[in-house]
């Protein structure tokens, strides 16, 4: 038995499915692919799937991963990935596989790319720059135990703004650790409110996950 980590992208229709639905989807992909996977013991055996980190509904990604226990020690990870990809939907390509080189707890930041469609790219760029220049942006985060006061300015770093044909692009790191996670959905809505834009105008793509010293852990495209 060995653990293999698989990387996948979420695009098109799979951007709109929750973490739980993604888990169920992948269980079925695994079943269809027929790869030699380990099942939990007990009354209701199921496939043992672990994720690096959940992705909120509404976000695309090029760097998601899950770990699987493979019963055949000689199985070639690349071949397993190919078989899984064939059994998946075109909107959820499984593009790489290998050893599990980092633990979920190693992740401290996620890199996101926001694309804001606008008729006034320069104006919006200025507004976003003004927003980014603020030393403190208090906000409220909903948790299971109620709301928690956070500061978005502290939980985000290394912004980069550019203007491309499809809109204004903001690339930024958001805290994504075991504690102090900042949801990109919440970030978009606070930023949108500050800049007077409809939140749904911004597409969100997770591009990488990073460790405490901001080294990229996930495959770079």
């Amino acid at each position: 038995m060995k653990t293999v980590r698989f990387f996948f992208r979420k695009e098109g229709s799979t951007v709109y499915i929750s973490h739980l639905d993604t888990t169920r989807f992948l269980s079925r992909v695994i079943k269809r692919s027929g790869i030699p996977v380990w099942y939990t013991e007990g009354f209701n055996p199921h496939i043992y799937l672990t994720f690096a980190q959940p992705l909120p509904l509404g976000c695309g990604s090029v760097c998601e991963s899950f770990d699987l226990r493979i019963t055949d020690d000689n199985a070639d990870p690349a071949d397993l990935a190919r078989r899984l990809n064939e059994a998946s939907s075109p909107d959820l390509p499984i593009f790489a596989a290998g050893e599990a080189t980092f633990a979920p707890a190693d992740i401290f930041y996620s890199a996101y790319r926001f694309t804001f469609t606008t008729s006034d790219p320069e104006g919006l760029t200025e507004q976003i720059q003004a927003f980014l220049a603020r030393k403190s942006v208090p906000a409220e985060k909903k948790t299971k135990r109620g709301t928690k006061a956070i500061d978005i300015a502290i939980l985000s770093s290394d912004p980069k703004i550019s203007v491309e044909p499809d809109g204004v692009i903001l690339e930024i790191l958001l805290s994504s650790g075991v504690e102090d996670t900042l949801s990109p959905i919440l970030y978009r809505s606070i930023l949108g409110e500050a800049c007077g834009i409809q939140p749904e105008c911004g597409r969100i793509l997770r591009t990488a996950m990073l460790n405490q010293s901001k080294t990229i852990l996930t495959p770079v495209l």
Partner: protein, 609 residues
């Protein structure tokens, strides 16, 4: 532009995956290579529609036709509808995201009467004229099938063609006729006249109805060569019927999200309240071999880890034992659960039962339908109290601790003793549990008591439905006589039942009421949180239509019923006989025990057994 708007809206609505399409197994074709486009519409939400087996079968069957592309359309939830109206997004099909107005066929499946306002809403959101008479040009043709089309009359104003009976053969015939008409440049009227000549297709605009002074139908006459009676279509050789090996696997959880295996069509039981029991006659089974092969193929193609054996009464499927023996070895190997109907598990071999892991020890549901033996005899639910209690005993012995019992109230010939009998029976179930010392969780017996609605093509089609006052009184009686703290009661809103009763046995004059209610904002009438009885009452008052005439009036045996021109194979004489036996409290044996002469065997061209 439209596609961008849709993407934007998806960021704002609840459960956006209802509207994205792109699920595994969904079919995308090249528009340029398609001659006929079919929008298969389910007039309720995605989660409900995607659980419907008929849609799965017909979706894949239609898509196997060369040059035809069938796509799915569901009713948008109110939040999505508001966004669509704000952004001016017309109702679109999931696969291509093209507006349904661009399609050749818009086909609805009608599973329950309370979805009718959703049907009108979907037409309007698609920019399609509501009334059939207002549609010009050949396309789009609005068709409807499903069980409610056995009395299509309330929708006669809105639907171009009703498909009566099973669709596997007639749908392709209709689509081919259309493709030919399109090539030849036929007009809509010419096409509809040609369609009316295909057996099983009912074109309501080709019939004239007149009414007598008492409000009942005095004549119902065809025009332009349309048949006087429309005969239901069935699949004669059910073992050989088309069955998909690929199902669409939804991203989000739906009501039934598993591999469904249709083991048979029809039912031998003849319960007098049950429309499906008569509508799907005669009984036709698949062989265990066919089903086992089908089950394996579906699980492999979809990745489902659960199979359910579906039919009206799977316990009556004669090949159950061999089927389970054939599929158990590989389902165990592949860790696939097999779910069996819990009903009538008493005559199923214990050794097999023990092997079926998915008969989980959580809840058992069971439908005695009525509280006393007299009442169960009236409705021909041929099950005794001893059978109910022995099944419960078996279940309790097997570790179950919660039982759900289904009952009805407002049945014809019902007396107060029968209502009290529901509580008496529930109490006996509780006593059965405590007869022995049992471990595990505490016992819970839930009784769901729905209001009976008389349906066309049943022996009770002649009977009045109970009024709302009567139902309310009986619900109170039930509450007053509850005999154990372990028993939990629930029931339906009498207003919903009244509306269902009106539309189930309605005629063409209800079209105006339906449209009025829709224009006032009625949608999702089957959903308690959306149902607006006040708007419905306004609509009836405005149109001068009496609900009592349709819901609470007894029909004489010789009245021309609105659905008399539909021939489901079971004769009116049979229903009259059964109605008389019900009045006398006499039961009728099931079809395997002896033939009751309902007439459905004519469809098959020979005896049923």
């Amino acid at each position: 532009m439209l596609k961008e708007k849709i993407e934007r809206v998806l960021q704002r609505v609840q459960k956006p995956a209802r509207y994205t399409g792109g699920e595994f197994g969904s079919i995308v074709k090249d528009k340029a290579e398609v001659d006929v486009r079919f929008a298969f519409c389910f007039p309720d939400t995605y989660e409900i529609g995607m659980s419907h087996l008929g849609m799965k079968i017909l979706y894949h069957l239609t898509n196997e036709m060369e040059g035809v592309w069938c796509e799915r359309v569901f009713a948008p939830a109110p939040d999505m509808q508001a966004e669509m109206e704000r952004e001016e997004i017309p109702l679109f099909a999931l696969e291509s995201r093209d507006p349904i107005g661009e399609f050749d066929f818009i086909g609805f499946t009608l599973q329950y009467e309370l979805c009718y306002t959703n049907l009108l809403n979907m037409l309007r959101l698609g920019g399609i004229p509501l009334k059939a008479a207002d549609r010009k040009g050949l396309a789009p043709i609005v068709v409807a099938g499903g069980p409610c089309t056995c009395n299509p009359e309330p929708l006669a104003d809105f639907i171009d063609i009703f498909i009566i009976g099973e669709g596997e053969e007639v749908n392709p015939e209709l689509i081919r006729l259309y493709a030919d008409a399109k090539k030849k440049g036929l007009s809509r009227a010419e096409f509809l006249r040609a369609a009316a000549r295909i057996e099983g297709l009912y074109v309501p605009s080709l019939y004239d109805v007149t009414y007598g002074e008492d409000g009942t139908i005095s004549s119902f006459l065809p025009r332009d060569g349309a048949p006087a009676r429309i005969k239901k279509r069935i699949i004669k050789d059910f073992d050989k019927v088309y069955y998909p090996e690929q199902f669409i696997v939804p991203y989000i959880e739906t009501v039934h999200d598993r591999a469904m295996l249709e083991v048979m069509r029809g039912c031998i039981r003849g319960c007098r309240f049950c429309q499906a029991g008569f509508l799907y006659r005669p009984l036709r089974e698949k062989t265990a071999g066919t089903l086992a092969a089908s089950a394996h193929a579906i699980c492999e193609a979809t990745g489902y880890d659960e199979i359910s054996l579906t039919s009206l009464s799977t316990g009556d499927y004669s090949g159950l034992d061999p089927l389970v023996r054939q599929i158990l070895p590989w389902t165990k190997e592949e860790k696939i659960n097999l779910s069996l109907p819990s009903l009538r598990i008493d005559n199923f071999p214990q050794e097999l039962l023990d092997q079926i892991t998915s008969v989980r020890k959580s809840g058992l549901t069971f439908a005695p339908e009525a509280g006393t033996q007299r009442m169960r005899d009236v409705i021909n639910k041929n099950i005794t109290e001893e059978e109910i209690l022995s099944t419960c005993r078996m279940a309790f012995d097997g570790g179950y601790s919660s039982v759900k019992l289904y009952f009805m109230m407002g049945l014809p010939f019902e007396m107060d003793e029968d209502i009290i009998g529901i509580n008496t029976l529930a109490k006996k179930v509780v006593e059965e549990f405590f007869r022995e010392k049992r471990k595990g969780k505490g016992l819970s017996v839930s009784c769901s008591v729905s209001s009976f609605v008389p349906k066309p093509f049943t022996p009770f089609q002649f009977d009045p439905s109970a009024t709302r006052e009567e139902l309310a009184r009986k619900q109170q009686l039930l509450l007053d006589t509850v005999a154990s703290r372990k028993v939990h009661l629930s029931w339906h809103d009498p207003n919903t039942s009244m509306l269902e009763a009106v539309f189930a046995r309605g005629d063409r004059r209800l079209g105006a009421v339906l449209e009025a209610a829709f224009r006032k904002g009625c949608r999702f009438d089957a959903w308690d949180e959306h149902f607006r009885i006040d708007l419905w009452e306004d609509a009836f008052a405005e149109c001068g239509v009496s609900t009592a005439f349709y819901a609470h009036r007894a029909r004489s045996y010789d009245e021309i019923l609105p659905w008399d021109h539909i021939d489901i194979g079971v004769s009116k004489e049979f229903f009259i006989r059964e109605h008389q036996r019900a009045a006398e409290g006499k039961t009728t044996p099931n079809c395997r025990q002896s033939c009751a002469g309902c007439g459905a065997n004519k469809l098959k061209g020979g005896p049923c057994f």
